[in-house]
């Protein structure tokens, strides 16, 4: 082992990449992280001089869907991230060592890179009964998370478990499952919710930290604005159906076969902030609504308790597509006061009128009006 870790550009050279290819990758990174062309020089410089960022990845109360999602990343692909971009020094899912040797690897990184390593957490931490509901190496998750956070440069809370507690924190939360931001203070924490988060959102968050050496802009809930500032509803390709009052009334009905809006089937798109409508899933193949099932709101806190999933939102206010999560607030859910009609009226009355005029006379056998 050499003493001085190689920079990313030096490693790229060793792998036989040309400068041109390297610059193309840096350009991709910049695009991925939403950087303007003028910022590209900064990305290249960062990658020329940085050694791989030491990273430790913890698993507590979780199902490993976040890790599985991460390895689905298509740009960059995960072997490039793990071998070339970061040094993933502890991850129970992939690392070769187990038991003592695994813990030693963790300990080495925490000591050698104190204050420099990135801490990734998958899973919530149980607080009831002195934390006995999740133990690793005979120690509680709470004990472990506190110690590791101490020397971390920043923390990424992967998925809904670490960001808001997810399923185990839903009623009656038998183990006292608690998200990371309620346990750790005094460290930058990035929440990347979703069950799981989209692979490229996870990779994009890492890329941002790596390329710019700073935390991405976060909203009031600690989520990167780049990925969580738009409602699924506002980025949904089926939105025109909503605006036109064209709804699926039953799974597999004629309207379902035409891809109408799933609002009446309980779709949570109108109250869910995520990138599903933009980035989509598994390299852009589809997303839940495109495949005929409503959004269940998996990136929103308490989504498990805002059910049943197939009961449509009684109503929600008529905010426009420029409204962000911060201004709307998080209290939205089933049963908020202002009606769907208000939404339609306030934002779409002109558009609907035009559409209705346009389709007048054409065959619309089961068309339903919004708010009817």
């Amino acid at each position: 082992m050499g003493d001085k870790p190689l920079s990313i550009w030096e490693q790229a050279q060793l792998q036989g990449y040309s400068r041109r290819e390297f610059l193309r990758f840096a350009g991709w990174l910049a695009a991925m992280a939403g950087i303007e062309v003028s910022g590209l020089g900064q990305v290249v410089k960062a990658m020329d001089t940085k050694s791989r960022l030491p990273v430790v990845w913890f698993h507590f109360q979780e199902c490993t869907c976040c890790s599985e999602s991460f390895i689905r990343s298509s740009h960059p692909i995960v072997s490039d991230i793990v071998l070339d971009k970061i040094s993933l020094d502890y991850t129970e899912t992939l690392q070769a060592a187990a038991g003592h040797q695994a813990e030693e690897a963790l300990h080495n990184t925490m000591k050698k890179y104190k204050g420099e390593y990135l801490m990734l957490v998958e899973g919530s931490v149980p607080m009831e009964n002195d934390g006995v509901y999740c133990c690793i190496g005979g120690r509680t998750a709470l004990d472990i998370v506190k110690e590791a956070a101490e020397g971390a440069k920043a923390i990424v809370a992967w998925g809904s478990c670490a960001s808001n507690g997810c399923i185990q924190a839903s009623k009656p939360n038998p183990t006292g499952a608690t998200p990371i931001h309620k346990i750790i203070s005094g460290k930058p924490i990035i929440n990347v919710p979703g069950c799981p988060p989209i692979a490229e959102v996870m990779a994009g968050t890492i890329v941002h930290l790596l390329a710019f050496d700073r935390i991405p802009q976060l909203d009031g809930l600690g989520r990167p604005k780049a990925f969580y500032s738009r409602r699924v509803h506002d980025t949904c390709y089926r939105r025109p159906n909503y605006d036109a009052g064209l709804f699926v009334d039953s799974f597999d009905d004629e309207n379902a076969k035409r891809g109408y809006c799933l609002y009446k089937m309980g779709c949570r798109g109108p109250v869910t902030y995520n990138s599903c409508g933009v980035i989509r899933w598994n390299n852009g193949v589809s997303y839940p609504i495109q495949s005929g099932h409503g959004c269940i709101g998996c990136s929103e806190a308490n989504f498990w308790d805002n059910g049943p999933f197939y009961q449509h939102l009684a109503s929600f206010p008529g905010f426009g597509i420029e409204t962000t999560a911060d201004t709307v607030g998080v209290a939205l859910g089933v049963g908020t006061a202002v009606g769907i009609a208000a939404h339609a009226v306030s934002t779409n009355i002109r558009k609907r009128k035009l559409i209705n005029e346009g389709i007048a006379g054409s065959e619309q056998p089961t068309e339903k009006k919004g708010g009817a």
């Binding site: 187990a98 003592h100 399923i167 598994n282 269940i296």
Partner: protein, 572 residues
Amino acid sequence: MAKRIVVDPITRIEGHLRIEAEVRDGKIVDAYSSGTMVRGFEIILKGRDPRDAWAFAERACGVCTTVHALASVRTVEDALQITVPPNAELIRNLMFCAQYMQDHVVHFYHLHALDWVDVVSALKADPKKTSDIAQSISSWPKSSPKYFADVQKRLTAFVNSGQLGIFANGYWGHAAYKLPAEVNLLGTAHYLEALEWQKEVVKVHTIFGGKNPHPNYLVGGAACAINPDDANAINAERLAYVGTLLDDAREFIEKVYIPDLLAVASFYKDWGAVGGGLSNYLAYGDLPTNGYGDPSKFKFPRGAILNRDLSKVLEVDGKNAEQIEEYINHSWYEYSDGDTKGKHPWVGETKLKYSGPKPPYDFLNVEQKYSWLKTPRWKGNAMEVGPLARLLVAYASGNAEVKELVNGTLKKLDVPVAALFSTLGRTAARGLETVLVSNWSKEFYSQLLANIKNGDTRVFNGAKWDPETWPKEAKGVGLTEAPRGALAHWIVIKDKKIDNYQLVVPSTWNASPRDGKGQMSAYEAALIGTPVKNPDQPLELLRTIHSFDPCIACAVHLYDERGDYVHHINTY
């Protein structure tokens, strides 16, 4: 001298598993398996809408994603007597097959391979010789000397960087590694290729279920409407996409996974006599070809085998209260009528009651309760579940396709039938069934196309969608085969809500603690006799445990026969 070793965390698995084992004369003579994390799903599911249960249950596992959703929708459909349309059954089968292909390949390369492949040794390989080996076992195109030289160069740069990442502190150079450097290089190259490949086949889930991990399911069928004449439904483009994904997956399985599996196995034939463990096998069966209601037409048959007697396949009934029961003699729970009687899941109870040592602890009290897993039994017997159990039940049921494949492989490896009952047998069975599943997936795909061609586009039966159509009380069970083995959910519905919901998952069968009679479950039994040359480097223990593809996180520590701690592992 005997030592007790504790491995915690056991890595390259899903979840939190801890193994405490006693080693004497280089072999494991006693073992205890403990699940050290609990979330309380069964408690959380109470009072919910049964139609929502699949989404909750699916979150039991993100590695074998989909399988709990499938078990759940079947459970509710069984309770409400819903039959799903043939297309929905086919779509579920295709999602099932995609899950097996992805999961088994990831297990082999990313969770299990490092137990057999010494990555560091690959640095010394001659890429030309690796190329010769690769071309002699497969027609996979990425096999030139230049290709392997590039992989080696990349690996060398990685090691020279001084940051070993996921390979740090591995057991490199351990005497139990037997592959030549050239085969290690082949394995390492395919580790990286498989990592890139695995993200493709799951797109079958994305097309039908909208995302992966955790695609959407639906009680009554599938949500993805079929309409060959619309852009917003399953149409010819979407179906062609699925067809291409299945073809590409089959090619990788046939040209990379299976040749690698056989090549690696040929150097580790002695592991065909290690880790046999239990002699009882249980499979619920799956992949219906005539509807879920007709198990006799499943591709994977249902049944149980006792005492490795392949001449008899015993009938399995999930509804029979005498057959499947869960015990908590050694589990951190309490039952309302005492902790020593078994309970059928329909009357199952989940009340957490921790009585283990106060953390931080060095050892569990294995004489008392020592795990968050309950202990399931079939007619009182401890049963192994998983790929080996499925293959044996199919073999013993006389399935010609399975018999031919198994016999052919045994002959190729030149090992006796008895070699199946082992660590190696489990790993080989997983590969063989992946071949079967990839073949079957094309049959299901063709049937789906044929149905649509004939004008049947139905994917959903909505007759019982409205809770007003439900009886006041109903009970159901949903059986499936997760990649890791027999999986079932049980539900009791009262007044349109979930009154009781119980999951008995594959790793509960395999990784559970002892029962009241002291009978070990599969992990514990299989570890007996597994060699451990160096207790500080429990590589062989990992081989046997990983052969089950655990779906829980684990742990191992070390102590001597007097119980003195010889190796402190709490180094956080």
